[in-house]
Symmetry: C2
Subunit: 129 residues, 2 copies
């Protein structure tokens, strides 16, 4: 199948698929006589793997490494778990950070009248900490 169909099957854009290939995230696609990229179910599997890893927030680099591990018959689940736990820590850290932002924002938004007056607790917060 051509790239458009691969895109339809995976939900990735054609640009993204080409980008993944260019970055070496997935092996280079075979080409038909006219130079068009050709995809089979194995390639679709790679693409879907990367897509799911990305949806779980893994970096493209991590996603690629996970794909490599997945295709290695001599892998251990320990190596995967380690990566996932590290990633989970990052996610938790980011959530905590955004939660703090959220709380402050809700505070000041709650205090702000949002009317035609000049006084604004939100700006006060930004001006004085």
């Amino acid at each position: 199948m051509n790239i458009a169909e691969a895109a339809k099957h995976t939900g990735l854009s054609r640009k993204t698929i080409r980008y993944y290939e260019q970055q070496g995230v997935i092996p280079p696609a075979k080409r038909s006589a006219n130079g068009y990229r050709l995809y089979d179910t194995a390639q679709l599997g790679c693409l879907l793997f990367i897509k799911r890893a990305r949806e779980l927030g893994f970096s493209l680099n991590d996603s690629q490494e996970l794909l490599s591990i997945s295709q290695d018959p001599g892998r251990t689940s320990a190596s995967v778990k380690k990566k996932a736990e590290l990633h989970l820590q990052k996610i938790n850290h980011q959530i905590a950070q955004m939660q703090k932002m959220k709380e402050v924002l809700e505070d000041v938004v709650g205090e702000c009248m949002g009317d035609e007056q000049t006084h604004c607790p939100i700006l006060d917060k930004l001006n004085k900490g």
Copy 2:
């Protein structure tokens, strides 16, 4: 004061301060005879404002607009509140997304033995959804 001192006072790096100026986020600094940038308390105030806005997750563009609004005597708190609420929505959306990632990750990490065996629920998840 020179840029290094301004950096020390604000907690921003010298690169960041120059970048903000170049992007028009803050007004261009005055220069001493030798071409060095000079900062006074007003400039420090701008820098701190931007820093705090960034810490609340506002984009650099939004931060700049908030600074403009803050410096406009004819502003209304409504205009600020609107921006803040919009931003809060984005934050909430992002938190929700990361929470979903977190839950899935905790699930599969919990199921993974993390030993020397090949079988791995994390990879299963990535391979089959």
